[in-house]
């Protein structure tokens, strides 16, 4: 029975000690937390960069004095500070700072050698008072890139660039790109066809051309206006369209049935105008009707009607 009792006792005392320690830490120290996070301290060669991160949690009312940070630029003969960045975050009680320091070292050692990144003092200001927190120097080892004497091998230079990395397999991506491009091209062609932009397919734009001709014609040019629309119908059908052959026209172009009344009027009007007994007097209204019919046909041609 003695052993379990001893364990219980030691556990309780450990917990109490930890709690007391925590309490005392919270109450007395001005900085709640201070960490210097560093990478591995060995295996560096000339030109390597080393990132240090300092995480500081302060009490409320305490602010970091940024001038206490080392300045960007050359620190000594072989060490350079490339970048200093500070991010500040409001915590529940106080602030949290994250300081990133990016060093680059240019020491070319002849053999493995220990070097030090020098330490510095971080200053904090609180109610006119200054508090200092040391950041220790950090030691690391650098190694030479190559042997002291440069070798030549049978293939030429021993010093040579790294082999190019093998490319990732992009066959599938390229394939998908081509599929997407093909689909996009198809859609573009289809759209152009619908809008009658394709010069190689004049049948899709016969009424577009007729409309363009009609726009510039007035009542004195009624024969040309009628002719333009006739030409459009004839080229659409592939052979002349006549009033008595409209049924045949509708069979091959059923979409024009929706303007059947207008078409019948047009062909009858044209027949009377060209072949009738000259009793017909052209009126502005007639020309307008012809233009409207052409517009409707253009809409059918574009598929928007």
């Amino acid at each position: 029975m003695q052993a379990p009792q001893q364990i219980r006792f030691s556990l309780a005392s450990l917990i109490i000690t930890m709690l007391l320690a925590a309490c005392s830490g919270m109450s007395n120290q001005p900085l709640r937390d201070f960490q210097l996070q560093t990478p591995r301290p060995f295996g560096y060669v000339i030109g390597d960069t080393i990132r240090h991160r300092i995480v500081v949690e302060t009490r409320s009312g305490m602010a970091l004095e940024r001038s206490s940070l080392p300045a960007q630029g050359r620190l000594n003969r072989w060490l350079q500070l490339n970048d200093v960045s500070v991010t500040e975050q409001d915590g529940s009680d106080g602030k949290q700072y994250q300081i990133d320091l990016l060093y680059q070292q240019f020491y070319a050692p002849l053999e493995v050698k220990e070097l030090n990144i020098p330490g510095f003092m971080l200053r904090f200001r609180q109610h006119g008072q200054t508090l200092e927190q040391p950041v220790g120097a950090w030691a690391f080892t650098v190694a030479p890139l190559r042997e002291l004497v440069v070798r030549q091998d049978q293939h030429g230079e021993y010093m040579r660039p790294d082999q190019a990395p093998t490319l990732l397999d992009d066959n599938e991506i390229v394939q998908r790109l081509f599929i997407a491009l093909t689909v996009a091209m198809g859609i573009a062609v289809r759209l152009a066809w619908l809008y009658g932009y394709l010069p190689g397919l004049p049948k899709r734009s016969v009424f577009k051309r007729a409309l363009r001709t009609l726009q510039n014609l007035d009542l004195h040019h009624l024969p040309q206006a009628l002719g333009a629309l006739h030409v459009a119908f004839n080229s659409l059908h592939g052979k002349p369209v006549f009033l008595h052959k409209l049924a045949e026209f509708y069979q091959s172009h059923p979409e024009y049935r929706s303007v059947a009344d207008e078409l019948a009027w047009f062909f009858d009007y044209s027949n009377r105008y060209f072949f009738g007994d000259a009793s017909i007097l052209p009126q502005e209204n007639d020309l307008q009707k012809i233009k409207t019919l052409c517009l409707h046909c253009r809409e059918i041609e574009r598929g928007s009607r």
């Binding site: 024969p223 002719g227 052979k239 002349p240 009033l243 027949n271 060209f274 072949f275 009738g276």
Partner: protein
Amino acid sequence: MTSKQTLSDWRASALQLEQQINRVVVGQQAAVRNLLIAVFARGHVLLEGQVGVGKTTLLRAVAHGLGGQYQRIEGTIDLMPADLIYYTYLNSDGRPCVDPGPLLKQGEQLSVFFFNEINRARPQVHSLLLRVMAERSIGAFNREYRMPHIQVFADRNRVEKEETFELPAAARDRFFMEITIDTPRDDAVLDDLMFNPRYHDVDALIGEMAASQIPYYQLNDWAAAIQQSIQPTAALRKYALDLWKASADPRAFGIKLNDVEMDQLLQAGASPRGIGYMIRAAKVRAWLENRDSLLPEDLQAVYAVTMSHRIFLNPMYSYRKDELIPALIDSILNHIAAP
């Protein structure tokens, strides 16, 4: 100038005649319409068709409808021109007699002359007939016989070609129209023709027709009045001219036929007489359609019947005539726009 009312009355009579003929010869509406056009344009007609499709019945019905006299003669290889003009015989007293033949017997009353199987008759007979057709007169017994109302219908059997004399180009050109009479396609009509006893007796069938409404002796005046009443416009003249030119040089109008060298296809296109006939026929059609203006559809309707026997193919293509001529006519009509 004949008044519109008169023309309209004539049209009513003409349409009534058409209706009556259609009741006698069923299923031949298109042919009857063309025949009617030929009658009112005073043109001679070449009929072509299978045997037994009702060509003779059709002509007898037309003759009955027009009044006047009807004569027919069968073309045979030994028929001589004189056989048309007179025949000789011994009368009951034993005396030799000479009587007028079929062409002369009816004198001026002869309105329809039917020459059956014209391609079996010799060219001498053809030439006599051509003179009758062109001049509507004939010289015989030391005088001239006139037959001003005669209309010749000739029939060409297309089944046999042996022992026949093909009509020369000049003879064919004198015919106003070539009308093809086919067996009706409609099953109901065929059934009626098979089982209805009405069609067994042609005499009774013709007898059903009402008495003539159209005086044959006035037809020439009517025809002239109809031609006068309709004046084509400039646009139509242009269209007709294009149709004519295309019959002689289809290539110029972008017309192409399958398996044909277009520059070697034609020997000759339609003659000026032929195109004149076409316009005459188109005007009659416009009149029958109750219009006083000539439309492209009138020309199109009569183009095939008035043109197809006037277009002469090169010998190398003439064996495909039955296929090429309709295709050519069709594509001419489908290529030329108006306006």
